[in-house]
């Protein structure tokens, strides 16, 4: 079970979220100019790393906002959350000590308690 640190709402159960797959996959600028191979890469091919993965999540039953997350696909350790439209943080942090709860990275705007109004909660 993942405890996901929503940038707006703080740590919430995984069941409140939906997964959006790999982040930072731009729609091709000129789809009509792509070869079949290039188009297939956009449609069907995504990274599938064993380790740090950059992915999108949406807090479906909370604030209904999308955000990006760096997560280790082996340890399931969450290393950072950051807003949509922001580039991937340069270097992932070293894995946090296993405390049984999700950790947040430097790029995170995550509050630690749901009762505190988070910085960045209002645009």
């Amino acid at each position: 079970m993942l405890l996901i640190p929503c940038p707006n709402c703080g740590p919430r159960d995984e069941t409140e979220f939906h997964y959006g797959g790999q982040a930072h996959v731009p729609y091709p600028e000129n789809p009509n100019e792509l070869t079949d191979t290039e188009w297939s890469r956009y449609l069907f091919y995504r990274e599938n790393p064993k380790g740090i993965f950059v992915e999108r999540w949406v807090h479906s039953t909370g604030c209904r906002q999308w955000f990006n997350m760096l997560r280790d696909t082996v340890s399931y350790d969450i290393q950072a959350v950051y807003p949509m439209g922001v580039p991937r943080p340069a270097a992932p942090l070293p894995p946090a000590a296993d405390t049984g709860t999700a950790s947040t990275g430097a790029a995170s705007t995550t509050p630690l308690s749901p009762s505190t109004a988070p910085e960045g909660a209002t645009k």
């Binding site: 995984e14 449609l43 069907f44 091919y45 995504r46 064993k50 993965f53 696909t73 082996v74």
Partner: protein, 406 residues
């Protein structure tokens, strides 16, 4: 319910040889598919100077973690052909391998819970019959007759509105299947090398010429990848990409019970599939977790939902205790069909993407993949399951006939 005794466990079934410096072919992955491939390479193509490399212990990945269901009631011609060929092989393999791995053709039911399910299921029964696959449509009363413990009352959230039924389908003892293949492979001279992790590939231009392993470098003319869950990792080592995402898939067993469940019941809609194993434990599987994962474990809410669905369908399970739960890593593709064929790397072949349904396909995967590795070209049964289909658009969409959504 079988009252057979399990076969006596012999002292050993295969040697544990040191890897040689060179083989005619190397199969990466010592699970069901890898062993079956090696078996058919030796038997059908006379290739016995080959090795199966397994990074852990033999059949300790998805072969140890699946729910052992075997069926061939897939919608499309291409799928029906390969899965039905697998089923026919399952029917003769105990004799051929001289090992009774308790293939029990107790039938498999796929429940329909909505009008959409009903239409889709009846369509699938028709398609199956046209392809020579045994298939029947059962109304709720017939469902009840075949499986008396099923709740067919209409006061549950997703009432049973009928089911497809494949009488020749069933279950087998997964460990014994692996051991049966391993023993025959070993007899024919195949080296099964455990604790041997592939760490890279040697290439001469675009051609693979060897495998780097945790136990040294092995030269080889051909490489077959059969490492479900880690296919993307191996492909990346070899310098190409696969349209695969790896997800956790979970299953569980109860403690042992008297025989209560005579068949196999699957429900795509409420995401549970149940059979009773030979020893008596109830074996249940769930859907995949939504996120990518290599952790061989999933989220508990998936198990919770699966249990809720099972108890609603089978009220008698309410007092059964969960003995253990576990997870495996499944390769999923966007069309829920496998990839068996050539890769961009010359002399390297891939068998992957079987999603949640690799076990049932084991014999046909082995037979067709062995053909592909030996001849350098696909067998007619696996030709449609090429990597190119993602470029040509000739997808084989089996989301409806796959056991669960993935």
């Amino acid at each position: 319910m079988s009252t057979q005794h399990l076969p006596e466990h012999p002292d050993f079934l295969w040697r544990n040889p040191e890897p040689k410096s060179s083989y005619d072919a190397v199969i990466v992955g010592g699970g069901g598919h890898g062993l079956a491939t090696a078996y058919f390479l030796a038997k059908n193509h006379g290739m016995t100077n080959i090795a199966v490399l397994e990074k852990g212990w033999l059949a300790g990945g998805n072969m140890a973690r699946n729910t052992t269901i075997i069926r061939s009631n897939y919608l499309w011609d291409e799928s029906a052909a390969i899965y039905e060929h697998a089923l026919k092989l399952w029917e003769i393999l105990p004799e051929e391998l001289e090992y009774d791995f308790l293939f029990s053709q107790r039938g498999v039911m796929n429940l329909a819970h909505t009008l959409g399910d009903v239409r889709e299921s009846i369509r699938r029964v028709g398609a199956n019959k046209l392809n020579g696959v045994d298939a029947e449509w059962l109304d709720p009363q017939q469902v009840k007759e075949l499986c008396p413990i099923l709740n067919i009352r209409d006061n549950i959230r997703y009432p049973v509105m009928g089911a497809t039924y494949q009488p020749r389908a069933g279950i087998a003892k997964h460990d014994h299947v692996a051991w049966a293949f391993a023993r025959k492979c070993d007899e024919m001279g195949v080296d099964i090398i455990q604790n041997c992790e592939v760490t890279g590939f040697l290439k001469d231009g675009e051609r693979v010429v060897g495998v780097k392993t945790s136990r040294g470098t092995i030269n080889t003319e051909k490489v077959g990848l059969c490492a479900a869950g880690h296919s993307s990792v191996l492909a990346e080592m070899a310098g190409f990409q696969l349209p695969i995402q790896s997800h956790p898939l979970q299953a569980l067993v109860s403690e042992l019970h008297e025989p209560v469940h005579p068949t196999v019941v699957m429900s795509n809609h409420v995401h549970v599939y149940v059979s009773q194993a030979h020893k008596g434990e109830l074996v249940m599987g769930a859907g995949v977790d939504s996120y990518n994962g290599y952790g061989q474990r999933g989220s508990f809410h998936v198990i919770e939902q699966q249990m809720a669905a099972a108890v609603e369908l089978f009220p008698i399970f309410a007092r059964a205790h969960v003995l253990r739960t576990w997870g495996g890593i499944v390769d999923t593709t966007l069309d829920a069909s496998p990839i068996v064929g050539l890769t961009p790397v010359e002399n390297m072949f891939v068998n992957c993407g079987w999603g949640t349904g690799g076990f049932k396909g084991t014999p046909a995967a082995g037979m067709t993949f062995a053909h592909t590795v030996a001849t350098g070209a696909p067998h007619k049964l696996n030709q449609p399951f090429s990597l190119e289909r993602f470029e040509t658009g000739a997808l084989i969409d089996e989301h409806g006939a796959a056991a669960v959504a993935h």
